[in-house]
């Protein structure tokens, strides 16, 4: 089973049809039918590694009231998967993964993509949190432990943005990406193509462009969860590229397609 990283952009993509959402849907249509999906979203960024254990994880509308009302009515009613939860906990050991059936569910990082990639919501879905107390190398190592899931029909997807600087976001229509954002996006794409995971894990050493593009780790770390699953000889392919609001990369990539 391939794995993927999606640049999810605005929550409004959930109910929009654009070149990004079309690309997500077209990509998913090429996949073998997954037994279940494991999603690592930038928006479940907490102290500790947790896994969604509810029989039907709730849809979490984790955005402010400025977004269109239909977004707040959106639901992604996929059921959970207790067997996958147990398997992830088993594979992650000795890293402790806490079952969480109450505090979180399917947030917009997950459902904005899933609404287009798996619109029927008929594939069981489990979410894994990102432990914000841990450095990037921890996340890469944890994800590598989950690689056997690919042979078990599990589609693993990270959802974030390679470049994500909300403070500098500019909604001016048609405005080009900032130079530093475009440069870092291209550099990350080149590192992905070369399979240089060490540089991608140590992104904070990549200079001022990286500091502006990844001011906080939350939206970048899901990329590490995807690339850690790459096997020898597998290529990374772009699903779609582009920018939103000048400082948000929409780069999405697949691994093993």
């Amino acid at each position: 089973m391939p794995a993927a990283f999606f640049g999810h952009g605005s929550p409004a993509n959930t109910i929009s049809i654009n070149r990004y959402t079309r690309a997500w849907g077209n990509f998913a249509a090429t996949l073998p039918a997954p037994r279940a999906i494991l999603v690592i979203s930038a928006h479940w960024y907490v102290a500790g590694t947790r896994i969604s254990a509810a029989p039907r994880p709730p849809t979490i509308h984790d955005f402010n009231a400025h977004f269109p009302l239909p977004l707040f009515d959106f639901a992604y009613p996929a059921r959970g998967d207790a067997e996958l939860v147990d398997r992830v906990i088993d594979l992650a050991g000795p890293i402790e993964v806490e079952r969480d059936a109450t505090t979180w569910g399917i947030d917009h990082g997950a459902f904005s993509v899933l609404a287009h990639a798996f619109p029927a919501a008929d594939v069981p879905l489990v979410a894994l949190s990102i432990d914000r107390s841990k450095p990037p190398a921890f996340h890469y190592a944890l994800a590598a432990r989950l690689a056997p899931l690919r042979d078990e029909g599990i589609f693993i997807m990270g959802s974030g943005n390679v470049v994500h600087n909300l403070e500098l976001a500019d909604p001016t229509a048609g405005a080009p990406a900032y130079d530093w954002a475009r440069r870092f996006d291209e550099r990350a794409a080149n590192l992905l193509a070369m399979g240089d995971h060490e540089s991608l894990v140590n992104y904070h050493r990549l200079g001022p462009d990286a500091r502006l593009s990844v001011p906080t780790p939350d939206h970048y770390l899901p990329l590490l969860y995807a690339i850690a699953l790459q096997r020898s000889g597998e290529r990374v392919a772009a699903i779609v590229e582009g920018f939103a609001f000048r400082s948000g990369s929409m780069l999405s990539v697949s691994i093993g397609t």
Binding site: R132, S133, E167, L168, R211, L212, P215, P217
Partner: protein, 169 residues
């Protein structure tokens, strides 16, 4: 700077390591949250008020809810608490990424265009800054118990954050 804030800063500056500063400063920060709640919360329910404040599981988030911490300050405070917890449970565990993130949130809570810094992030500086602004706001709340509009009418915060980093170098 209030007397209480000066005392906090002097105490922290006298400590030699970030671990020691976190060990002393985070409990002080947590005590301040409850003092802020006592000053900010309305008087009702009269008899349950102290129990609710004393037993609140996450007083920092309530302080944020009352508007006495901004979103960026709240994130930075959370990260400092996390740093202290990590250093207690896993001595020697890396926390540089947490200092970076906390410092970014403090910078951009002051000015969202303050993106690249002119020096390294400082755990002590971040801790000192939060202790200082919370102490100041607590004094204001005690004088006029009403929601505090953070970052309004406060003196040059960027200079303050930079000077506190220098203090803890």
């Amino acid at each position: 700077m209030t007397e209480r804030a000066s005392a906090f800063i002097a105490e922290l500056a006298a400590l030699r390591t970030d671990d020691a500063r976190l060990h002393a400063g985070v409990p002080a920060l947590r005590a301040l949250y409850r003092d802020v709640l006592r000053a900010a919360a309305p008087p009702n329910p009269q008899y349950e008020r102290e129990r609710i404040i004393a037993q609140a599981p996450n007083p920092r988030e309530l302080v944020f809810l009352f508007g006495v911490l901004s979103e960026g300050e709240n994130e930075a405070a959370l990260l400092l608490e996390l740093m202290a917890d990590v250093r207690i449970t896993e001595p020697g565990a890396p926390v540089a990424h947490l200092v970076d993130e906390a410092w970014y949130y403090l910078r951009t809570s002051i000015d969202e265009h303050w993106q690249l810094d002119d020096g390294p992030p400082s755990a002590g500086g971040a801790l000192g800054y939060l202790l200082l602004v919370l102490t100041e706001r607590l004094e204001r709340l005690r004088c006029a118990p009403q929601p505090v509009a953070v970052a309004q009418g406060e003196p040059d915060r960027a200079a303050l954050l930079r000077s506190l980093r220098d203090t803890f170098e």
